[in-house]
């Protein structure tokens, strides 16, 4: 990809010809996409489009059938420390006997390696991360006693404690309260200002232009990817959401996507509604 003799720094994430299949059923098909330093990218697409699978494949949690993922030009296994991960909140058991601070400290484990225990420095970093998401008052709170949004912020703090160059987040905005949404947005902005690369699986099409500067429209294949103002177009969204043949959920998603685009064009910011206004 580099031309001439100008030396080009390797990209944070470069995905080449990636295909992932579950039992010979393709979930991701021939994905070619790269993520640039200091960008905030949303991955959007209908349910079953392979958004989480893409993130998990980057993290080496899923073995691809073909293709490769390079993190700063090398396989993920050699770059683990540079990548922080926010899994879906529902992926863990919040009744586990531990407190918020302890969970955030888990973000330090990668730096510690095997056997070594977190020390004073890790403790400080974990507290600092909790403070950044407005959760320092809950450090000693049992995690099952936190609200869903607070749990999400603990996960975000854990990723911050990882102190990475790349942040991969799987639906951090899913079902959170307004305070948490704002906390996450603030953290995203801060990460961007620090030149970090952030990739977020996102569900809410309406907020994409507000929160992100880049977007990947995914539906098993890459439909489009690039800067939001170039790529996040009605036509591309229609292609992303309409190319699937399965029923009601898709129709609904398409409808909400359509309304978002309308309200963008009108610029009136009204609450999205699946039904067009008849009066």
């Amino acid at each position: 990809m580099s031309s001439g003799n100008q030396r080009q720094a390797p990209l944070p994430i470069q995905i080449e010809d990636l295909t992932v299949a579950y039992r010979a059923e393709p979930v991701l098909w021939d994905i070619d996409v790269s993520f640039h330093e200091g960008t905030l990218t949303a991955i959007v697409g209908p349910n079953g489009a392979g958004k989480s699978t893409l993130i998990k494949t980057v993290l080496g949690l899923i073995e691809p059938s073909a293709g490769q993922v390079l993190i700063y030009g090398q396989p993920y296994e050699q770059q683990r420390r540079h990548v922080a991960y926010v899994p879906q909140r529902g992926s863990v058991d919040w009744d586990f006997p531990t407190n918020a601070l302890d969970v955030v400290k888990m973000g330090r484990y990668g730096h510690l390696g095997w056997i070594r225990r977190p020390g004073v420095k890790d403790h400080q970093l974990a507290l600092e991360a909790l403070r950044k998401v407005g959760m320092e008052a809950f450090a000693r709170r049992q995690i099952s006693q936190l609200s869903g949004g607070q749990q999400q912020r603990v996960f975000l703090a854990r990723a911050l404690a990882q102190d990475a160059k790349i942040y991969l987040m799987d639906e951090p905005f899913q079902g959170v309260d307004a305070t948490t949404e704002k906390a996450i947005v603030d953290v995203l902005k801060e990460l961007k200002s620090m030149g970090r690369t952030v990739v977020v699986v996102h569900h809410d099409l309406e907020t994409v232009p507000e929160y992100f500067d880049h977007v990947v429209l995914l539906n098993v294949r890459i439909i489009a990817s690039g800067p939001v103002d170039e790529v996040f177009t009605p036509e591309n969204l229609r292609r992303t959401y309409a190319s699937r043949l399965d029923g009601a959920a898709t129709d609904l998603e398409l409808a909400s996507a359509g309304v978002v685009l309308q309200s963008q064009e009108d610029g009136d910011g009204r609450v999205p509604n699946a039904q067009p206004d008849r009066y």
């Binding site: 080496g60 949690l61 899994p87 992926s91 058991d93 586990f96 006997p97």
Partner: protein, 367 residues
């Protein structure tokens, strides 16, 4: 050491050794794996016994532990086919391995140092007769074996505490950070297998399960910290061992059976009386919530009709039973409580909000 003390020591070692890996089984929601493993080690024990002629030989323990891990591997293999559920996969694998062990015993080993009764219940009472001398100490083999296994568990969990915790709480992150959760899983299952093999001689293959699950399940209700849960599990397990021994000598019954029963009793007591998670505490808490909510409803009701034409009728005692659907007793008790908290005043049948009551009503409505 006198034989009684030796038996109690072995029992305490067995209980403590079981409680440690058992804690992680409970937290990983794979408690039944202990059942599978404790049964699946039987063919390993029998074959090892044929080859070496001594059940406590380290090679026999290792071989038997291997057949426990084999059970885990087969179960995971069945799960991967996605044609059976987890409980079915466990239920399919371990009876096969266990029955192979039973067939081998009844066909080739009956009358030797292995019989089906011992397999099911162990023989703790005879443990002091089988002795060995190491480091100049003449102790029952059971103390040496279980002491070594307990030490192994303590060291493994101390060393890999962080890894076990992460892989149990969030296997996805553990994998992403390079902590090989599958390796940790099999490591833990190896500990469970080795522990089950050692405990097998003393409490049999069924009661191992009780000692691995009941103390951690009780400890889970008593603490919010993993390290404390491990310690409490061990303490409760040892208590069950002591209690079981006392009961067994008192009514002259199987020590292992009494130990397992005691661990069940301890769990039941904890389930009822645990300070936060216990059923009684939960019940009390929900009653308190109901009472507080009733007071809040009363305040809101009073504030909405305050200074209206119908105030006299609405904000009177008799009206509450109709409007809020309360029994006269509950209405009386709620009014009483609100009065005690200085939220309302009673003027005959009329109820009036105090300034504090009015403020509370507003706050409730804001919520």
């Amino acid at each position: 050491m006198n034989p009684r003390l030796e038996i109690v020591t072995i029992a305490a070692f067995v209980a403590a050794a079981c409680a440690l890996p058992g804690t992680f089984l409970v937290l990983r929601r794979v408690a039944l794996m202990s059942d599978a493993i404790s049964h699946s080690i039987l063919p390993g024990i029998v074959i090892g016994f044929f080859l070496v002629g001594d059940r406590s030989h380290p090679l026999v323990i290792a071989g038997a532990a291997l057949s426990g891990v084999l059970a885990v591997t087969l179960t995971e293999g069945l799960l991967k086919t996605r044609r059976v559920d987890k409980d079915a996969a466990i239920g399919l694998v371990f009876p096969v391995l266990f029955s192979i062990g039973v067939i081998l015993i009844t066909r080739y080993a009956s009358g030797v140092h292995l019989d089906v009764d011992a397999v099911l219940l162990g023989e703790l009472a005879f443990a002091p007769f089988n002795r060995a001398t190491y480091f100049g100490l003449d102790l029952p083999v059971g103390i040496w074996v279980m002491g070594a296994i307990l030490l192994l568990n303590v060291i493994a969990i101390l060393l890999f505490y962080k890894e076990l915790k992460l892989a149990t709480f969030d296997p996805g992150l553990a994998a992403a950070l390079g902590f090989a959760p599958t390796l940790i899983h099999y490591g833990l299952m190896t500990l469970v297998s080795v522990t089950a093999v050692g405990a097998f001689d003393h409490v049999g293959s069924i009661l191992v399960v009780a000692l691995m699950i009941a103390p951690p399940a009780a400890a889970y209700l008593l603490t919010n910290s993993l390290s404390r849960m491990l310690v409490i599990s061990v303490v409760l397990g040892v208590l069950a061992a002591f209690g079981g021994y006392l009961v067994a000598s008192w009514i002259d019954t199987s020590i292992a059976g009494a130990m397992a029963t005691m661990s069940g009793v301890i769990f039941m007591i904890t389930l009822l009386f645990a300070p936060e998670q216990g059923l009684i505490a939960r019940k009390r808490l929900s009653r308190k919530r109901r009472e507080r909510f009733a007071v809040e409803m009363l305040l809101v009701h009073l504030s909405r009709h305050e200074n209206t034409a119908t105030e006299a009728a609405e904000n009177a005692m008799p009206h509450l039973t109709g409007e809020l659907n309360w029994s006269p007793e509950f209405a009386g008790a709620t009014v009483e409580r609100a009065g005690q908290q200085g939220l309302i005043e009673k003027h005959g049948d009329q109820l009036r909000l105090t300034p504090k009551g009015r403020a509370t009503a507003e706050r409730v409505l804001m919520r």
